[in-house]
Symmetry: C2
Subunit: 239 residues, 2 copies
DNA sequence: CGGTAAGTTGACGTGCGTCAAGTCTCGTGG
DNA sequence: CCACGAGACTTGACGCACGTCAACTTACCG
């Protein structure tokens, strides 16, 4: 159930049996959402946080003119809104980018964890801090990288993050989203994303096709994107 | 000393005397940095977090070609890297944008807080979550807003945040940074920032001059930026 | 009073947006 | 089995917001 989440946490630090049980105990139910559905709407009051078991979820914000910006993409094993535990309402919405299975973690039980299990509390805090680090890296992409570098960087990031939970290998991974959604992540138009994907393909770096990312030259792709996975904090560190 | 930080926390929830004392007790020393100095370099191992007492600090990331992106601007009363407590090293650097006074909060003592004061721990967690919300809003600016809207949005955000700690009034506030640094926040070139500032001035919205932001028509500026302060989470909420 | 950094402006270039006309894919119903 | 409609994707022609380059002004400081 929450194995993929545990997998990620344990890459950073030990989680003992009591902690694991407490974490499992936060889950009150499991829900399935169809692709394209908004799971949580910005501003609504929350009593639970969303743990993604399977599928892809995006955090997004709408603009008045109908455009939107996806600010983060979550993969299986991620808490999509653990920050909602302290914020109580979200400044963004959550969108199912693919069909999704989610588990809902009760804020009441998360609160009990913060009262009784300080080490696990630090681990949860750590998780939200890594999310923020990802936001920062996306700011760099949006502010300073060219369209082709942004796309390349995103493909590299998702490769590492999906790899951690066993959903990617050295050749690629499944990414069943449309070019329009990719455009919303990258701060570009769908038309330009299409041109950029063609260039990445023609330069024999990556192919994005039929909901799949296939690497042709990963080292060159990483060089193009100036990708350095340090910001994902996947190295062991006792908390 | 840490009054401005307490001011912000207390806008959200009560902090009792024991909690206040514990927070004060984390501070081990105070340091002054000249404008332009890098306070913490990306990647270095940290034993303390940086609480900004006075001045402005930017979080930034460098790119290979010498460009850089500022991903967050901190005002007096902000912890600039409380997330460093769980991350142990930063994925970004910290820059003194103006002369700065900072207090350093020992990670050992912060850890003690997480062991003994769960409510204060949640408040600290909350602080880092608001930082992440600000990162998200900047992603929206960088990805989807025009140059003039980005500038307008930043001026509105800093107005609210400086207002909370008593450093802004309805007419404006001090912001002693260069146009080049503004450009690094906004993902633009200094030349274009200069043109945008001229347009904001000619349209009688804001003036940015001699290290000061002076509003001429704040409601119109907020409309232009589509500014909604909800993402700053400045409303009371028991944690 | 000279030097240096910050700000200003104009001419021109370009990466990405816009608009519009396709094509391809696939699910549905006749 | 084919017809058809709806999305998603693709491509070309053209436009514009912002970048680049370079010259100049202003402010400040020793």
């Amino acid at each position: 159930m929450i194995e993929r989440h545990l997998l990620k946490l344990r890459l950073r630090d030990k989680i003992d049996a009591a902690e694991e049980a407490a974490l499992r105990g936060t889950i009150v139910d499991t829900v399935v959402h169809a692709a394209g559905r908004t799971i949580v709407r910005a501003g609504e009051e929350l009593n639970y946080s969303t743990l993604l078991l399977d599928g892809l979820v995006g955090r997004y914000k709408d603009l008045k003119n109908g455009q939107r910006q996806i600010t983060h993409v979550h993969v299986a094993g991620d808490f999509a809104d653990l920050h909602g535990f302290t914020l109580k309402r979200l400044d963004h919405s959550l969108l199912a980018l693919t069909p999704c299975t989610i588990a809902r973690a009760s804020h009441t039980r998360l609160r009990e964890i913060t009262e009784t299990l300080p080490h696990l509390t630090r681990m949860m805090w750590y998780s939200t801090n890594v999310d923020a680090a990802i936001h920062r890296e996306w700011e760099v992409s949006l502010g300073r990288r060219s369209a082709i570098q942004r796309a390349a960087h995103l493909f590299c990031e998702l490769h590492v993050r999906l790899g951690v939970v066993g959903l990617a290998d050295e050749n690629g991974y499944g990414l069943a989203i449309s070019q329009a959604e990719l455009a919303e992540c990258l701060g570009l138009t769908p038309v330009h994303v299409n041109r950029v994907l063609r260039e990445l393909r023609e330069r024999s770096l990556v192919e994005f096709r039929n909901g799949r990312v296939s690497f042709q030259d990963l080292p060159a792709l990483r060089r193009l994107a100036e990708f350095d996975p340090g910001y994902l904090y996947l190295t062991p560190q006792p908390l």
